[in-house]
């Protein structure tokens, strides 16, 4: 990347609440700028690219380098660094922010500041980023840009009077945004001749190139042939290629130096070696200390994944292995369930992460899965002084061996309009929330602060929040350690047999209600069998709830003449097909989706 001075580089990200227009604005910025500087165009970099090798690579993070010719006549390189938009990926967000020097804050002109906006801005400010506000969707009839500008100044406390009033959709005033990026976001600093110090903010696995490390060079420089060292994982390698991110492509270049954003490939085989947040340096001439903020990412949510067809176990293992190449946060280990056979206990950053993985397994690897209810990681302190981290309820030691248990909690911020404050407080109360205060950010809106157990929010909290506030509440949280709690294991017995895959850990105070709802739900899910099927919820040997699936009494087609036969066959085929989606537990057939039913126990 010869010839580009630090003063002409801008490294930034876009932060926004969901649906406030982050990706649309990113598209506009890419559209209005170019791929290469004029000098690079002369050297015809594109001709050197091995296009064949690029095929099939999709850049996971939409990090992109574009070139903008500003009003001052100079060319600027923009590195737009993508940030994942979900609380599951909070740590990744913080690492992406650390790779930036500034952030564009997109706020919807009608909706104003939301909880997620606040959380993201605070995170950006924590990283000393200059935040440039932009008011989007000003073309909407309900837009109130003046009010929103005031809100940004009052609530967030940043200057917003000259925020561009844009419509990312129509392209209105995008030029103002580009100019403000040049003027308001500082150029990077860093000494190109210092020892290498680069921040890894993402990585992905490519079958041809091996692991591709996305990084921001803070100090020093790196080029092909350099030896490198990952300071936290200790992995060493030799650089094969460096480059930057074209529009959806990897464009190799000679070197990356302080202040730039780009990628390094170094014949690394596993993304585990290149953890997000780690520092890349030179083993020959190492920097004095790693960049601050590195954390090993631990899964927060666990569930069992089983192939619907037991014969597909090996396929599932292969698929998980492949996914893990690209996703260091995904963990899995084999487990066996009496009800479901052979499968894997998998760890995820959160429920969204779980859903993404589940969907990819089903779509990309064509696997039909049975998923057990997700749970969090409990700490079980045994009377013998041992502590175990429990990820599978079935492994809970006998109660007589347990001294006490702890569960993870989160600090939650919920932003809500005043008519729904009561309803949301009720919800938090039901979910065992500890009220920690409230502040009004304007007359009609407040932020509620709660401490909530993680296991109360991983299932359907977000849905409940939305339905009880008619959509007027937004929510953000961060992990806040562990707290001691009265927890019990709730077992489900179907036709008097315990179904291990349905057991879950629950707070003693809500066990009865959960047990009752679970039985009701299962009663709906389990079709009638030839005989009566009792469904029971039990803590230890004590049954706390019971429902009964009545025996099948009547299932008959009255008429079947010449014209009915094909239809009748389709009906029978459908019934038969439905049976295939069942799991035989004892002599009861349980539909596979019943194993997920614990997820949907909240009020309908």
């Amino acid at each position: 990347m010869a010839g580009i001075e630090q003063k002409n580089i801008r490294n930034f990200c876009i932060i926004a609440h969901i649906d406030h227009g982050k990706s649309t604005l990113a598209d506009r910025i890419i559209e209005r700028t170019g791929l290469l500087t004029s000098r690079e165009m002369q050297s015809q970099v594109l001709d050197n690219m091995d296009l064949e090798r690029e095929r099939g690579i999709t850049i996971k993070a939409q990090t992109v380098r574009t070139v903008y010719k500003a009003e001052d006549g100079e060319e600027y390189v923009f590195n737009l660094i993508d940030t994942p938009g979900h609380v599951d990926f909070n740590y990744e967000v913080s690492r992406s922010l650390a790779a930036c020097d500034g952030a564009i804050l997109v706020v919807d002109a009608a909706q104003g500041v939301e909880a997620q906006t606040l959380a993201n801005v605070y995170l950006a400010l924590d990283h000393d980023l200059d935040v440039v506000p932009v008011i989007n969707k000003v073309d909407l009839p309900s837009a109130e840009p003046e009010r929103v500008i005031e809100e940004i100044e009052d609530v967030i406390g940043i200057e917003a009077q000259d925020a561009p009033l844009i419509s990312a959709k129509t392209g209105l005033n995008i030029d103002q945004v580009l100019e403000q990026i040049v003027k308001k976001i500082p150029a990077p600093s860093g000494d190109p001749s210092a020892p290498l110090q680069a921040l890894i903010f993402d990585s992905l696995y490519d079958a041809y190139k091996g692991v591709i490390v996305f990084c921001r060079i803070m100090e020093g420089n790196v080029k092909k042939g350099d030896p490198i060292l990952m300071m936290a994982t200790g992995a060493k390698a030799e650089v094969v290629e460096v480059g930057y991110f074209g529009a959806g492509r990897f464009i190799p270049c000679d070197e990356l130096s302080a202040g730039t954003v780009g990628y390094i490939t170094a014949s690394l085989k596993n993304v585990k070696d290149t953890q997000v947040g780690d520092t890349v340096t030179s083993p020959v001439r190492p920097c004095e200390e790693p960049l601050p903020g590195y954390k090993k990412v631990n899964p927060m949510v666990y569930c069992g994944l089983y192939p619907a067809d037991g014969a597909k176990y090996q396929d599932l293992r292969d698929a998980l292995e492949k996914l893990q190449l690209n996703d260091a946060a995904l963990q899995y280990e084999p487990e066996t369930s009496i009800a479901l056979g052979f499968g894997f206990r998998c760890g995820f950053l959160g429920l969204l992460h779980l859903e993404i993985i589940q969907e990819r397994l089903e779509r990309e690897y064509n696997l039909d899965l049975v998923t057990t209810a997700p749970g969090v990681v409990y700490r079980v302190y045994k009377s013998n002084g041992e502590m175990i981290e429990l990820t599978n309820p079935s492994n809970l030691p006998d109660p007589s061996e347990i001294e006490y248990m702890e569960e993870p909690v989160v600090k939650a911020e919920i932003m809500v309009t005043s008519p729904y404050i009561g309803a949301i407080m009720d919800l938090c109360q039901e979910r065992r929330g500890q009220y920690e205060g409230m502040e009004y950010i304007e007359e009609t809106r407040a932020v509620l602060h709660y401490q909530l157990p993680l296991n109360e929010i991983i299932y359907d909290f977000f849905d409940a929040l939305k339905s009880r506030s008619k959509g007027y509440a937004s929510f953000d949280y961060e992990m806040n350690g562990y707290q001691r709690s009265e927890l019990v294991k709730l077992d489900i017995l179907i036709n008097k047999e315990e179904v291990d895959a349905l057991s879950f850990i629950v707070h003693a105070g809500t066990a009865y209600e959960r047990g009752r709802k679970m039985c009701e739900k299962l009663k709906e899910e389990i079709p009638r069998q030839l005989f009566e099927v009792p469904i029971q919820a039990a803590i230890g040997s004590k049954v706390i709830a019971r429902e009964t699936v009545r025996a099948m009494r009547k299932d008959v087609l009255a008429k079947c003449y010449g014209g009915d036969i094909s239809r009748k066959r389709k009906l029978l085929e459908k019934q038969k097909e439905g049976k295939k989606r069942m799991r035989q537990v004892g002599n009861v057939e349980i539909p596979q989706k019943a194993f997920m039913s614990v997820l949907k126990l909240d009020d309908k």
Partner: protein, 329 residues
Amino acid sequence: MTNLLRKLDTYREMAKDYQVDTIFIGGGTPSILEPGEIKRLMEKVYSIFSVEADAEISIEMNPGTATKEKVGEYKQAGINRLSIGLQSAKDEELKILGRIHTFEDFLRSYEMVRNEGFSNVNVDLMFGIPKQTSDSFVSTLKKTAALNPEHLSVYSLIIEEGTPFFQWYQQKEMVLPDEEEERQMYKGAQEILWNYGYNRYEISNYAKNGYECRHNLKYWNMDEYLGIGRSAASFLDKERFVENEKREVLTRESLMEEFMFLGLRKMEGIREMDFQKRFAQNVDEIYQNELLKLVDNKLLMREEGRIFLTERGIDISNYVMQHFIFDKE
């Protein structure tokens, strides 16, 4: 009608290979046809097909649309079996079903039919009608059986999602008899009709001895039939088809499936010998596990080379029959 006659002509060549022993004129209400039309139709049929002398020739009629003139014409045209859609002897229930006739109308039609010399008459009845009670159904059964028709078809009303009746039924928030009540109605029908001398020979069909509907038995025995007219279904040479629609060639597996689930509708069930004859394989070679399980669960019985549904098996016959469907990829 002109279309129908033209269509019949197209079968002239094929007709040479067949002897026709049953004819059924139905689907909708043929009794609304103008006088003379049935006569024209039957003349055409006789001119094209070789119809056996003792063939069973049925026509459906609605009590509201029957006239002496029409019934006389049927007789002249060689029709020897009449099927009357009564459904219920209670006018309130008929109204709920959207029928235009009353029980009075039916009685008049029935009388007329008998007077014209029809000695093989079927009456269709229905149970599970919204608001129907066991008592009203029993009364319908008794009133009808007392007239001594040779054949009775007794169906339960099935409200299928997506039909106009379904919407209508939802809007009116009608209460249907519950599953258990319906089951009792079904059992009640069998008992009462038995006392009146009727024999249940198929899940929904009852007849005096020797009056089993030969035409319908063809469906359950997987014999061949030709349907003529819009949306009329045919089964010829291992192919099921409906006029102007895609033909479905039945595989050997499909034929086995149908042989089982159609044959089991008959109370006498299927004969192992017939299976063997048709497929050159023993039924146990194909369905051993299924048969063992179903017999074990007392849903099927095997006796003297026959396999048939038990009473419990009849109640949940769909469950039983799905066992004979092969796994499909």
